[in-house]
Amino acid sequence: MSNFMELKINSCSENEAFARVTVAAFLARIDPTLTELSDVKTIVSEAVTNAIIHGYQECSSGVIELYAGLKERSVTIRIRDYGLGIENIDQAREPLYTSKPELERSGMGFTIMENFTDQLTIDSKPLQGTTITMVKNFEPQCVGATS
């Protein structure tokens, strides 16, 4: 089975919940465990929130693109913004690092994305935008499970 979805939304904060619910609904077809579903919702929420806060500085008219592609029980999730971009990717990936401590950010977004997935790639160019690509493999389904 090989299915995909592409979603384009604007950068308003209501779309954080919408984006994670959408990806969760897309994955329903492979019947993930509750923990897997919760992990995926979290990583989507992290990346979309970053696009809104850091990429577009909380201006709601930016465009966010979200792609999810399924190959058997492996999903590739790509989240892209055309915002500010990241100057120093190594620094950004450090646990607890945030460029916006005044907004009470925890600096844990990338650490969570890294921990909850099997692969995390960050492509970013200052003033051009950021693309986060994550791969997550799901547990094989029990024999005899219903669809």
Binding site: S13, E14, E16, A17, F18, R20, V21, T35, S38, K41, T42, S45, E46, T49, I52, I53, P95, L96, L103, E104, R105, S106, G107, M108, G109, T111, I112, N115
Partner: protein, 117 residues
């Protein structure tokens, strides 16, 4: 897709029960409701009950860490209770679990606090 914030005060104890989803979108409201309640309190003990949160991400960690720091600075204290496995995982990953006091539920948190009086 939203959050519900229920608060209850007993002397210098503020109990806050969050229900729904705590993310960047709902963080502002959560923060301001709690800060408003704490404003007039001295040496406040904040018990944050997360049992009915069905989603939280790193924006929620920011809210928790923010309250922890503000209370510590003001001579108060933060206690967490009702942690789901998913939320516990986030607290663990960020190191917050080590520095925070956590309890099973509100009763346990209250009991523990009364013992220290």
């Amino acid at each position: 897709m939203s959050i519900t914030i229920a608060t209850e005060k007993q002397n210098n104890i503020l109990m806050v029960k969050l229900a729904g989803e705590l993310d960047h979108h709902t963080a502002r409201k959560t923060r301001s409701v709690i800060e408003d309640e704490l404003k007039l309190m001295k040496n406040a003990k904040l018990i944050l009950n997360l049992a009915e949160l069905n989603f939280m991400d790193s924006s929620g960690l920011g809210v928790i860490l923010g309250r922890y720091r503000a209370l510590k600075e003001a001579g108060g204290e933060l206690m967490l209770c009702g942690l789901s496995p998913a939320i516990k995982k986030l607290l663990q990953l960020s190191g917050l679990l080590k520095i925070m006091t956590t309890y099973e539920n509100e009763q346990e948190a209250l009991k523990a606090y009364e013992v220290t009086l």
